[in-house]
């Protein structure tokens, strides 16, 4: 399966809705946040899509991750680094 990256590394909070991206890593500023994000299931190589955005300032967001749906705030999504991919569909 070939995949085309169509963006540089950005953070998850700036990923547009319904676009697929792959997690490339975590920004290292907040160790405890990284642990919590990993424990709930985010990991390098996982595919993520932003599914919903809240009414006020697009916050919080919900992210589809391997069939699970996870809600988080944009300021926490800053810690997740992603690259947007060509959507397969």
């Amino acid at each position: 399966m070939t995949q085309t990256y169509i963006s540089n590394v950005i953070n998850l909070s700036t990923l547009p809705k319904d676009k697929m991206a792959v997690i490339t890593g975590f920004s290292i500023q907040n160790q405890s946040l990284e642990t919590r994000l990993r424990e709930i299931g985010f990991a390098e190589g996982d595919h993520v899509t932003v599914k919903h955005k809240g009414l006020f300032g697009g916050n919080p967001i919900s992210v589809s991750l391997n069939g699970a749906l996870i809600a988080l705030r944009k300021q926490d999504a800053l810690a997740i680094l992603v690259r947007e991919m060509e959507s397969k569909t």
Binding site: E44, D46, N66, G67, A68, R73
Partner: protein, 624 residues
């Protein structure tokens, strides 16, 4: 339950009982499995020090082997960020005082979320206990187009894997069969703990992804039902409107649907009181039974239908998976008051009772946020306040409709909203002063929608109803007897003021008179310390003793004796109701300090007094 009870319990267990811990992420079906295996007969365990609650139950395997099962709070990973997560981790590590360490772990996982959660079971291997993985909800995973090769999975994980559908007997058959064999191995020590895994979470995750890559395949990328529902439920505008509608319908339903049942209960109590009245000779015994016991307890028990309807909604929202969505939807609003969406769940529970609400705040990871949530939870309209609202609204607010809405329902909704509004203001103040600190985020998994299991749902409703009825027995019955005595003696007293109750009430009446409260209210507020709804049973008893005509309903009695400003002030007081001692006791336990319960009492009293006073004088100024 005290810690001594637990000690006795663990000593009396035969050594041969197998102690199993149910561990796993939230919403993976642990509780359904627990209820299915044990028949739901659970003992709730509290621990010394911080209050910690989990359920313990027993069942026998088909071969007669006794199993003791622990239903632990849901947990991701092994760090224990929140209080309830730490309980689960301490339990499997054997660090809980007074509780024997489990012999083995049943690690439960929602099969449809295996790709996100598999690293959790690798982490759990490091606890050093024999462990098996139970892949639950296999039917839902299959529906989502997920195919899991359990043989490959098992050999890659190095632990046994069993598939199950906890809610179906056939879905549990494999597990029970395996447990018969495994229990022997665990108890004889031949089932060894698995090999430990790498230390860092990153490495563990990498291994987990490798394993799922080999043993899990998505044969179809079907759009799930949950996805389709969420397009509406999590829609930024429609979703919020829907949430507001659900809450509004909930409060309307509490009124509109309960009326026939309430009438039936009221009628029943009247029949009993009359029947007993004709059987017993005139005298103090008759007065005690009819005026004290039947009237007092009846005045509170008539609200059982409303309590059941309220819980029917809350439990349904919880069991269906909607509650986490509500947290998502209100997160930004909660952020405005310095909290996050997670606080919505304890606060919504507080509408039933502040005690489970204060305890549910344990799921909030940040200590300052948890404290803020605890402090404002008594402002949510708990079920014990409904009897007071129903009584006063029923007596003073005329029937009728405003548009399509029941007028009485609107007033009740307004009172609830007043509590919420003040809670928001207070939270904002607290977060800027007492509990100041940096903002914390929301990180919550939105579970797939589930059809609630009818049996579990009804059991939950039954438990809540029984708690209410038990309170009527343990608190309201004795309180009614005491109030009856104080309001009836000395026997020569001809007015309520001359009775013992009148003397006690007159001590605090001067404080309450400026806000429009009369002597009867002053008297009823004292026993209401035991439980807020006792205010109603006390008023019923006081008036029943005073009035010869016991057939007359309490509502029509007070509507003829109280002024409207007094009634409104009484309602305003109960928005804050700094009474319930059990609430302060649980705040003391959960904060492990005396400072916070006293602080909560103080601020609620000031608010209640000010609100009642303002309401009374404004109403009078308007000539009501």
């Amino acid at each position: 339950m005290s810690d001594t009870d637990i000690d006795t319990a663990s000593h009396s267990e035969s050594i041969s009982a197998l102690r199993l811990a149910l561990l796993g992420a939230p919403n993976c079906g642990k509780t359904s499995m627990f209820n299915a295996l044990t028949g739901g007969r659970a003992k709730v365990a509290n621990y010394p020090g911080v209050t910690v609650e989990y359920r313990k139950g027993k069942f026998d395997l088909p071969n007669g082997q006794e199993v003791e099962l622990l239903d632990l709070p849901g947990v991701y990973g092994d760090c224990g960020h929140s209080m309830d997560e730490r309980v689960a981790i301490d339990a499997v590590r054997g660090n809980l005082d007074g509780e024997r360490r489990p012999d083995a772990i049943l690690f439960m996982m929602d099969a449809s979320h295996i790709e996100t959660h598999l690293h959790n079971v690798l982490q759990a291997k490091n606890y050093g206990l024999p462990i098996i993985l139970v892949l639950n909800m296999m039917d839902m995973a299959a529906r989502d187009g997920l195919e899991i090769d359990t043989v490959k999975l098992s050999s890659a994980l190095g632990i046994h894997v069993i598939t199950s559908v906890a809610v179906r007997a056939s879905g549990r058959a494999h597990l029970l069969e395996y447990l018969q064999k495994w229990s022997k191995q665990v108890l004889s020590g031949t089932a060894k703990p698995p090999m430990g895994e790498a230390e860092t979470l990153k490495d563990i995750q990498a291994k987990a992804r490798l394993i799922t890559g080999q043993s899990v395949s998505r044969i179809a990328q079907a759009e799930t039902l949950t996805n389709r529902i969420d397009k509406i439920v999590l829609h930024p505008v429609i979703g919020l409107l829907l949430l507001f509608t659900i809450l509004f319908v909930m409060f309307q339903a509490v009124y509109a649907w309960s009326a026939p049942a309430i009438d039936a209960i009221e009628g029943g109590f009247a029949v009993i009181a009359n029947g007993v009245g004709t059987l017993l000779p005139d005298g103090w015994i008759k007065s005690l039974v009819t005026d004290g016991v039947i009237t007092g307890v009846g005045a509170v028990l008539v609200f059982l239908p409303q309590i059941i309807i309220l819980f029917a909604f809350i439990l349904l929202l919880e069991a269906s998976g909607y509650m986490a969505r509500a947290a998502f939807l209100v997160d930004t609003l909660m952020a405005k008051i310095g909290l996050n969406g997670r606080a919505f769940i304890p606060l919504l529970s507080s509408f039933a009772c502040a005690i489970p609400g204060v305890m549910a705040a344990r799921t909030i990871e940040n200590e300052r946020d948890r404290l803020t949530t605890i402090l404002i939870s008594p402002l949510m309209t708990c079920s014990a306040r409904w009897p007071v609202y129903f009584l006063i609204i029923g007596a003073f607010i005329p029937d009728g409709r405003v548009g399509i809405f029941n007028q009485k329902g609107l007033v009740a909704f307004g009172l609830v909203m007043a509590g919420v509004l003040v809670a928001m203001i207070m939270a904002t103040i607290f977060k800027r002063t007492l509990t100041r600190g940096e903002a914390t985020g929301l990180l919550i998994e939105l579970p797939s929608y589930k059809m609630p299991v009818l049996k579990d749902y009804l059991r939950g409703l039954w438990d809540r109803g029984m708690i209410f009825i038990n309170r009527a027995g343990r608190i309201i019955l004795p309180a009614s007897v005491i109030i009856w005595f104080l309001a009836s003696y000395p026997a020569r007293a001809t007015t309520i003021a001359a009775t013992y109750a009148g003397k006690v009430g007159s001590l605090i009446e001067p404080v309450l008179k400026p806000i429009g409260f009369n002597l009867e209210i002053a008297i009823s507020l004292i026993p209401a310390m035991a439980a807020r709804e006792v205010a109603v049973s006390s008023l019923a008893t006081i008036y029943a003793v005073k009035e010869a005509n016991i057939d007359q309903q309490l509502g029509s009695l007070i509507s003829s004796q109280w002024s409207l400003p007094t009634a409104l002030a009484f309602l305003a007081w109960f928005v804050f109701a700094p009474q319930c001692l059990s609430t302060f006791a649980i705040i003391r336990k959960e904060t492990n300090s005396w400072k916070w319960p006293f602080f909560a009492f103080g601020y609620l009293f000031v608010l209640a007094y000010a609100a009642a006073g303002l309401t009374y004088h404004i109403a009078r100024a308007f000539g009501l």
